[in-house]
Amino acid sequence: MVEEINVSSFTSQIFIERLIQKNFNFFTGVPCSLLSGLISCLEEVEDAHYIPSVREDAAVGLCAGAYLSGSQPVLLMQNSGLGYCLNAFTSLNLIYRIPVLVIMSWRGQGGKDAPEHLIMGDISQKLLETAGMNYSVLKPENCDQVVEFALRKINEEKLPYTLLVEKGLFDERY
């Protein structure tokens, strides 16, 4: 029996520990400031190993290889990388049914961000929906539910699942 996450003390470390409890054991990605706390945490936690990827689509391939080998992969990336990944998701993950948990920071949300993030921020959800990729917006209060839901998609339907991360959810480290 796992303890329920206390909403007021939701941190990068608690979230990473929850993923590890749920048997996620392979972590890679391309950084985003919104995910900097998570990535630092992965570099610090002993039972996790984070592999830096140079492009988001390469990270998709890496996670696919890990899954084929029996691991349970997690891919961390900014939504700007979604464009690079669409062909990988549609012509690899979705047709072979190779799942991956994607933790995707949501830059440009609500039109308030640097100019380069605004269009992708506006269309990220629509792109995911159009591609047939399921997602949830991660919140401290829904963390347990959405992780369970993602696990069902991953284990039963063998499909990728994305958790969108808004600014301010996790601590940022510089």
């Binding site: 392979f26 592999i51 830096p52 990827s53 140079v54 492009r55 689509d57 390469a58 990270a59 998709v60 391939g61 890496l62 996670c63 696919a64 290889g65 890990a66 899954y67 084929l68 080998s69 029996g70 691991s71 992969p73 062909n87 990988a88 549609t90 012509s91 690899l92 047709i95 072979y96 049914r97 190779i98």
Partner: protein, 182 residues
């Protein structure tokens, strides 16, 4: 070149790049240990890297092409950085995108084996004669990796060669079964 390498394979997982590499290998000898990547151009190397990292006790082979490597040159850097000693990256370099009609690639001027070497592969070999393939491949298979073997070939793919007939899910299932712990 497949005729030279296929007889040397035992039970190694082999991740195939899309296009003629998948099709020709499938037509010559289908193996359950073959992962035929029919789409996602550029990603055979990263898929192979993932397998190599997670299966350190298996020798893992990526059968790649020049177009794929040029598309994902950053993955060479990732392989060099992670440096899995069980990965052998074979690149069949015909200097064209052969399965789409032989449009030229730029590998006639880019020495991919030097890119691999600079990226941190332990050994990177280049061969251009048929009889050099076997000794070079065996040398890499029997030494610490990551190893890189560039095989320069003429473009001679027969476009009548069939496509992989297994469904993507079948390819995945049987490949995964061969990777289960014995």
């Amino acid at each position: 070149m497949f005729q030279e390498i296929i007889p040397l394979l035992k039970d190694e997982p082999v991740v195939h790049a899309n296009g003629f590499i998948c099709r020709e290998s499938f037509a010559l000898q289908d193996r359950e240990e073959n992962f035929y990547m029919i789409g996602s151009m550029g990603l055979a190397s990263s898929i192979g890297l993932g397998v190599a990292i997670c299966k350190p006790d298996r020798k893992v082979i990526v059968l790649d092409g020049d177009g794929n490597v040029l598309m994902a040159m950053g993955t060479l850097a990732m392989i060099g950085a992670e440096a899995p000693n069980n990965l052998v990256h074979v690149v069949i370099d015909n200097e064209v995108y052969e399965s789409t009609g032989k449009q030229r690639s730029i590998s006639n001027v880019v020495a991919l084996e030097q890119v691999a070497k600079s990226s941190g592969y332990r050994e990177a070999l280049r061969v251009d004669k048929k009889e050099e393939i076997k000794p070079a491949f065996e040398r890499l298979m029997n030494s610490e990796g990551p190893g890189f073997l560039l095989i320069k070939v003429e473009a001679c793919f027969d476009p009548k060669t069939g496509r992989v007939t297994h469904t993507p899910e079948e390819i995945k299932e049987r490949f995964m079964n061969t990777l289960l712990p014995h």
